[in-house]
């Protein structure tokens, strides 16, 4: 897997990206989402305050997306949930990339016994069905949002370790690495200055997919009670709390579910576009 950034004028990937409709839709959705997340306190009412007299109201001018079984404004909860989902998605991926890249870089550069040891540990984590392990970790640490991030990150890093190691192994044979080594570059310098920058492109592409996946997994954990706890306006927890009222108020579980769908869709579209633009091998 030789994924060195292709030579060429720097503006080309950008221009290619701008011609990719899926990528543009993804970018648009993401920008929208970030805006909603940042502006939630301004554009939406309080997501926690209850008003039992106003429970299960259909969407109206006053309550754009209706109200839930406790009379809370669904739009307010969805808008405030955007920031939570983004924090979880990015938090998981950043943590997973840090662990995975470190493991992969060390394994690929040191080689031999270290490589074997590190990659077998990676295999073990790879062998775990993610949700069950994340659930066990979340249950052990105690259910809350930060522990969800840690739990999902702990099951998400192996892919980066494999990706980076495979790239490092391919790069090690290349002239510029040999040249650096011949010139007396230390092991650490070799890793950080020469190998790391050249493995970042595939990591970046993978990461953009994984943000969506992490949001889905975390929402699933919250849905079964191992993530954000009520009254936190987390989307998965919201679907769970309102699901038994679906007959009277279909908007209450649907709105947060659409939030999840659009967010995951945005990151999947961006991931597709980035792969097409940055990684010339993976293109159709």
């Amino acid at each position: 897997m030789a994924a060195v950034v292709p030579a060429g004028r720097p503006s080309r990937p950008l221009r290619r990206f701008l011609r990719n409709p899926g990528g543009l839709i993804g970018l648009f959705l993401l920008v929208l989402l970030v805006l909603v997340a940042l502006l939630a306190p301004v554009i939406a009412p309080d997501p926690i305050s209850q008003n039992i007299a106003q429970r299960l109201q259909p969407p109206s001018a006053e309550h754009w997306l209706g109200t839930d079984q406790l009379g809370r404004d669904v739009w307010a909860r969805v808008a405030h949930g955007a920031g939570i989902s983004l924090r979880v998605g990015f938090g998981v991926v950043i943590l997973a990339v840090l662990i995975g890249v470190a493991v992969g870089l060390l394994a690929g550069t040191l080689g031999g016994g270290w490589d074997n040891l590190l990659m077998r540990v990676t295999d073990i984590f790879f062998a775990f069905p993610s949700l069950i392990l994340a659930m066990a970790i979340a249950a052990a640490l105690g259910p809350n949002l930060n522990n969800t991030i840690i739990a999902v990150a702990l099951v998400s890093w192996p892919i980066y370790a494999r990706l980076v190691r495979a790239n490092v192994l391919a790069l090690r044979e290349r002239e510029f690495v040999e040249a650096a080594r011949a010139l007396g570059s230390s092991q650490g310098r070799l890793m950080l200055r020469h190998l790391l920058p050249n493995t970042l492109t595939p990591v970046f592409v993978q990461a953009s997919f994984d943000v969506g996946g992490a949001i889905l997994t975390a929402a699933g954990l919250s849905f079964i009670g191992f993530g954000a706890q009520p009254p936190t306006p987390e989307w998965g927890a919201m679907v769970s709390e309102t699901r038994s009222y679906i007959a009277e108020a279909i908007w209450a579980p649907t709105a947060p579910a659409m939030g999840i769908l659009l967010t995951v869709l945005a990151f999947n579209l961006l991931g597709d576009a980035l792969r097409d633009v940055l990684d010339p091998r993976g293109r159709d």
Partner: protein
Amino acid sequence: MLSYFFRRLFFVVFVVWGVTFATFFIANVVPIDPAIAALGDNAREEQIREFRERYGLDKPIWQQYLIYMGRLLSGDLGNSLRTQRPVVEDLKEFFPATLELSVAAFLVTLLLGVPAGILAALQQNKATDVTVRILALIGGATPVFFLAVLLQYVLARQLDLLPVQGRLDGFTFPPPRLTGLMGLDALLARDWAAFVDSLRHLVLPAFVLGLFSAAILARMTRATMLEVLSQDYIRTARAKGVPGRGVIFRHALKNASLPVLTLLGGLLGGLLSGAVLTETIFSWPGIGRYVTQSATSLDFPAVMGVTLLVGLVYALINLIVDLLYAFLDPRIRYA
């Protein structure tokens, strides 16, 4: 080939050992004292001490691990704190339901994903292709739990088409348990009513569970088919006058099946994860629902048992995929 097989088998053993280590570690970082969790806050001092001694909790952690491993090797996974039964017995009772659901969902995945992907590739950039791609994008972004809740409501409660909970209706007499797979047991007992009823119960959860992986499989199949169809040997086959259908079925599909095969192992593992959510929503009495209930009540022997079983199944699936791969692709046979 034989040495390759043994190396892979050794790897499975190694991974499962790693899983025991990891689950043991996770269960022991619990900030909650298992003795107090089991006996309650008002337990007396000597009760707690006795509990610790009985379960070996007073020994150093590495000794606890050795004791745990010793019991494990003799097939003892400990007792569930919640059901008060041996975890092995619980797993025997609940695993067949999960197996039944996962296999059915896997069929949904294959029957939807592969044809959709092939069709899209053959009609590249035409209406069919665009439709499949959009559906696959949406399918891959839809939270399984919401789809389950929505279909339960629309198909079952509104239209009254399908049952929404459990494996059989309350008034259907369950067939004698032989395999634990309800449909098969009903067939073996020649109980057609129970067979039909169990299938009706299986449809919705299997569809919900399979849809996400079907979306991923459709994308992968399409991409692989497109790549294969652009290869020189396809052009050669066409130039030689092999009819269109022959090219697709004999040449393209065979070569496209290899990369797709590697994906299937991962997808099947993903189904086991998804089963946790699906079983919880459909009250499906499998290990997914069991592990959720156990984790909620901090029943770690049960959680460790399920994790171990699922890790083992997952490793075996990957072993089978690796062997199939080596069998189908002579290039990596002795690698």
